[in-house]
Amino acid sequence: MRRKKRKNGANLIGYSLIAPWLIGIFCFQLWPIIHSFLMSFTDYNLLNTPQFIGAANYSKMFQDENFYQAVRVTFKYVFIAVPAKILFALCIALILNLKLKGIGIYRTIYYIPSILGSSIAVAILWKALFVKDGAINALLASFGIQGASWLGSPKYALFTISLLTVWQFGSSMVVFLAGLKQIPMELYEAAAVDGAGRWAKFIHITIPGIMPMMSFNVLMQTINAFQMFAAPYTIFNGRGGPLNSVMLYVIYLYQHAFKYFNVGYSSALSWALLVMIAGTALILHFLQKRFLNYDD
């Protein structure tokens, strides 16, 4: 009896402490998801009353050449930027994990680009550096190299944007560093006693040790990469870049939602994005379980 009473007290206190968050979840996360699902079956432009049109938005989507282009570009971007960023972050983290003097300063230096995040300053900086008659080409020219049109050519534009993503590898690096620090020294010592070389230690201790961080980074960076927006939007003035080669999904979504005020269609696009991200996350989860299960 007394026990039950105390439990009720805990319920009251617990729920009153998380009440604001529960309201937030329902109003600003669950409801928008349901809302956009409902809207995706309507014709709505913010001014008219929403008209139910069945699955017309979805059938339009599957016939929309630009939708396919946006999906292609986005997957290409994810496949280029995410592995490059994570590989980079891992290499730097491994070097920074060497017990060298003054290494803390380097950790800070490598993190600085990431502080700037998705700020407009970074987008403007990238534009100034990489436009055809910009600073990078001027630098290359002083070495006698003819630079390309990094942002103006459909061949390079997406790579230039990916380079920006890779440049901001700081947060993945911090996560890897935290993981490397957690690997017990005894493991390395024991391996050394057993006569394991550097490479063997790396393959059999370091890599399995940071696998949880690896899968975390891959998942988080993939989810983020699908939503890339600010820099390409700013650099290409809200359009898809040369021959739509940088028409990332969210830019396309943004155009339909906030340029044409096509709420119904952009809600359908939002749902397709959610399905794409969730599907990719599930595949990653499955792959990780299947191939990276070092615990067994």
């Binding site: 805990a10 600003f28 998705s118 407009i120 100034a128 700081g170 979504l253």
Partner: protein, 283 residues
């Protein structure tokens, strides 16, 4: 053997220094570009300007008429600091509940919390816009502040998780002793937990500051009146309108716009690393 080790060390230093320099080159370039004559910003490969042009800052400051960047910085600071304070409050209270109180279905809500960390915000962008426009919150800062105080703004769920994990590491005896002495839950949170969870709260503050400062996407859709503009929005009009023939002034303002986040990061760096490594993950 020893000699070999020394060589390796030197090689490692050279490697990471050279690489660090390449990493920082764009930013160093930006600093120098901000005092170059506009015609030289793009075309000159040298870092140093041929003429020192500090008036770029003055020109940039008044570039978005009829306001100056003082207005935009004021707006952004108001928006960001409100969001930071709200994020701190909700993550402390909800974090305490998740760390210490055994209410019913806690595990369920905790997994929901974890799930929402990964929920891609962009997928609800359109419907949130429709909802906020229907209740007349466009061109106000409410679409930023209200979600922040409810723990679902930028980084919301992550902050609650981060603080909860940190509070778990604080010895339970401390708050149990206070409870026996008749301390109320609110007092326990404010007098015992708050001072002890400072490192995690500082990390929340840094992340909330940086992420809200850089939250261009939401600012772009919710704020369309120039008098409500944030620094990011004002920056964007500078390269849009002029076709950026005044690159010197644009770079000067770009430099100004990153200063606050950089300063905050350097001041609270110690807490940042501590917070991230104790709670594990995300950045």
């Amino acid at each position: 053997m020893k000699k070999k080790k020394k060589w390796q060390k030197a090689a490692a230093y050279v490697l990471i220094s050279a690489f660090g320099l390449i990493m920082l080159y764009p930013l160093i370039w930006m600093v120098f570009a901000s005092v170059k004559p506009s015609s030289e910003v793009l075309s000159s490969p040298s870092l140093l300007p041929s003429q020192f042009h500090p008036e770029n800052f003055l020109e940039g400051w008044t570039m978005v008429r009829p306001y100056t960047f003082a207005k935009f910085f004021g707006n952004t600071f108001f928006l960001v600091i409100s969001c930071v304070l709200c994020s701190l409050a909700i993550s402390l209270f909800a974090g305490y509940a998740f760390a210490r109180i055994d209410f019913r279905f806690k595990t369920f809500w905790y997994s929901i919390l974890f799930l929402t960390i990964m929920l891609p915000a962009t997928t609800t962008l359109v419907s949130r816009y429709v909802i906020f426009s229907e209740i007349g919150w466009l061109n106000t800062y409410l679409p930023f502040i209200v979600p922040a105080v409810l723990g679902v703004g930028n980084g919301g769920a992550f902050f609650i998780y981060l603080v909860a994990q940190f509070i778990r590491g604080i010895p339970r005896e401390l708050d149990e002793a206070a409870k026996i002495d008749g301390c109320s839950t609110l007092n326990i949170i404010l007098r015992i937990i708050l001072p002890l969870s400072k490192p995690s709260l500082f990390s929340v503050a840094i992340f909330a500051f940086m992420w809200n400062w850089d939250d261009f996407q939401n600012q772009l859709i919710y704020l369309t009146q120039v008098d409500k503009y944030t620094v990011a929005l004002a920056m964007r009009t500078t390269i849009d309108a002029a076709g950026a023939d005044n690159w010197g002034a644009v770079m000067a303002m770009a430099l100004c716009s990153v200063v606050p986040a950089v300063v905050i990061f350097f001041c609270l760096q110690k807490y940042f690393v501590e917070g991230v490594s104790t709670s594990g993950l995300k950045g």
